[in-house]
Amino acid sequence: MTKQLELSDIQGNIVRAYGKANYPKARYFFLHIENADAGRKFVEAVRHKITTAARWDKSPEMEGKPGGMPRVTLNIAFTFYGLLALQLPTRTLQAMPPEFIDGMKARAYILGDADPELSKEELESSATQYESSPLGDGKVATPNWLKKWDPIWRDSARLGSNAVHVWMSMNAKTKVKMQDGQPLMTEEPVVELERQTQWLRDLCKDVGGVRIMPLDGKTDGPEYQEGSAIFEEIDGLGAVPLPHEHFGFADGIGDPVFEGQHKPEDEKRLVLGRGKWMTPEKGWEPLATGEFILGHPDESQELPPTAPPDEFTRNGSFLVYRKLHENVSSFRKYLAEQAKSFAQIMSVSEDEAKDTLGAKMIGRWHDGIPLSKAATYEEWQAARKQWNMSGGSRKDDFLGMVAYRGSSDISDFKYGDDIRGYKCPNGTHLRRTNTRDYLDPMNQPDSDNPNATTQLNKRRRILRRGLPYGEPRLGVGTDDTDQGVIFMIVCANIFRQFEFVQQQWIQYGLDFNQGNNTCPILGNHSIHKRHTIPVDFATGKPPYICDNLPQFVETRGGDYFFIPSMTALRMMAMGIVDPT
């Protein structure tokens, strides 16, 4: 039996990753609600334009029409203080999850964003003092860890005019231009994006009492965070969006698949490597809907507790918005330096060493081929040939990569046959964020286990949404230019899913026999700076240890949001959320 979801009641960004669905341009808005009456009017106007999860007729002639693919999407979510500003009943608000009420800034200690030498108490007092002091009075110094945050997040106070209440996202398709009778892709967003932005500006003006918050805190500052895929100009195709982030690695591949997300005929293929591994007979199965959407049974086969009334939270979810800056020069420089000694020890060329080291930190080669499938440079080159990703024209190679990304080969693998990490090192970014079958309780650290299951992994999965930001070209930025990833996570329980992965798996290594070592890419490297690459003794080579890892990724702020269902939006707009 395939589960049927009420897709028209669920917001579209829960079910779809727009970036992957060919919406490579985005604008993220943050708004403040000054009074509840205006807020309700605003929600009433917005809810009619929301992109739901209803399936699209994907034919080109239906584009932009009802039932077809929209040219621009629209979604909305609220912080706890946004819900408070809309005067939701206390009984509903008080049953919201504590981490959602806290918000990201208050959770900096758990997320590893704060200075690691501060104790939890010191951190909390520094954040609270900063928050309660009127801005710019010079009496309370900004804590070091907050200095790098964008002003909108740094100065966001829970109560008062600086509080971020609403997140809105617009994802847009790009224009197609005709050249010599040939359609060519461009990186310019369709005009509907600016039109919809103007609609939002006008709406705020009409309603009065809801305003767009500039990102830098100044009245004429940027009114939205821009997101954009990285583009490459390819002969015969035009400017095509690449699936890469600014370090140059293909990203957003192994997103989980849950029950009801896809049509049954697509699900069979998509679930491979992206659901939960049951037994050799049953294979991969989609995860329970309740792991990602409230009001549905989750992997514990229970309805997770939610704030009353049920119809308010049902079909909603939680969103983590997190702006992650990428220090691209540091990354390039570090790889180049390490490649010298790696090349010498492993007797390979420096170019090969650089590609291999990068892959052995991430868990995939830069084109997305997993180490678990192609563990060595030679195997990788062979796989690229096999999938037509190299050797042809740039256009053919690119199309080969697109085809490969659509295949299940890119995500259909496990770690039970690589417990020692000879293929994919145990501490890689990939193995930390999605442990697959590595944490099966029956696994032993020094022997493979072909029967391992994904038991301890299936309650720690997160849906990856979002896009890169910054100059949409690879290799042009430095540490000081503004680029990185707008990292958005959707999950039913921020504490159990996102925060757990971030705290236990990104910022700590014991589950992977890596001691205190953090993720080589996302981890905080201020104290623990190592990443180990295990090597099979049979090869006669020693393991390689990457030491003195610099800080590659820095948080620039963000917050936790609730994504209401269409029903909930209507209840909020009408002021009829009734928990009794």
Binding site: S341, Q344, I345, R530, P542, I545
Partner: protein
């Protein structure tokens, strides 16, 4: 022995153990009273605890006897003494055998006396059974005592489980990891010279110095190294 940080002997009598436990609990209450209250506040009877002595007494009341060892520094399973169970079986078997033979003789003889009236004297088998039963009971009682005492024997101290050795190994582990990283691409000659220097500087055979001071998590922390 009850002073905070003082070394403990390998063997502690039950009385000594209670004293050490109480001293530890009192110290815990004195230095972390708020935390203890937060941990135990919902436990039954804890509302009557208001001093270090009462806290120690409260925890003693909650104590459960186990045979779980509270340290895990064994690299290989400790050489535990095995019970001489064959000898124990013989010791238990003899009186049981006497009882069984006596009982058989007495019951069998009585039956024969009833049907064929040879009027055998059955005093010997009767007393044999009685004595066998009594001595079996005594032996079983004695064996239970013996086995329990055997089980209460302390586990042998692990090799290198003393604090100076543990600290030294923590210290060496960190220094050696750094040595490995620093010499990853070194040629054999440099590696050889470097390792000679390493041995000289860190003296793996010398348990006391250089080493990590107790109370530090990492040797790289300020003031953590004892030279």
């Amino acid at each position: 022995m009850t002073k905070d940080g003082a070394a403990l002997p390998d063997q502690l009598s039950e009385h000594d153990q209670s004293q050490v436990r109480d001293a530890y609990l009192k110290e815990l209450w004195t230095s972390a009273r708020d935390e203890m209250q937060a941990v135990f506040e919902n436990c039954q009877g804890f509302d009557r605890v208001s001093s270090a002595d009462e806290f120690a007494a409260y925890i003693e009341k909650c104590q459960v006897e186990t045979t779980m060892p509270f340290h895990d520094y064994w690299i290989e399973p400790p050489a535990l003494k095995t019970m001489p169970w064959k000898l124990l079986l013989v010791i238990l078997g003899l009186p049981l055998l006497a009882f069984a033979a006596g009982l058989l003789g007495w019951v069998g003889g009585s039956a024969i006396n009833v049907f064929t009236e040879p009027n055998w004297n059955l005093d010997t088998p009767f007393w044999m059974a009685a004595l066998g039963l009594a001595s079996s009971a005594l032996v079983i009682f004695g064996l239970i005592k013996y086995i329990m005492r055997f089980g209460a024997n302390a586990f042998p101290a692990p090799k290198h489980g003393d604090l100076p050795s543990v600290l030294k190994s923590l210290y060496l582990q960190q220094k050696f990891a750094k040595f490995v990283v620093d010499n990853q691409a070194a040629d054999p000659q440099t590696l050889h010279t470097g390792f000679g220097k390493f041995l000289q500087e860190h003296q793996p055979e010398n348990k006391d110095s250089p080493s990590q001071k107790p109370g530090f998590i990492s040797s790289s922390a300020h003031g953590a190294v004892r030279t």
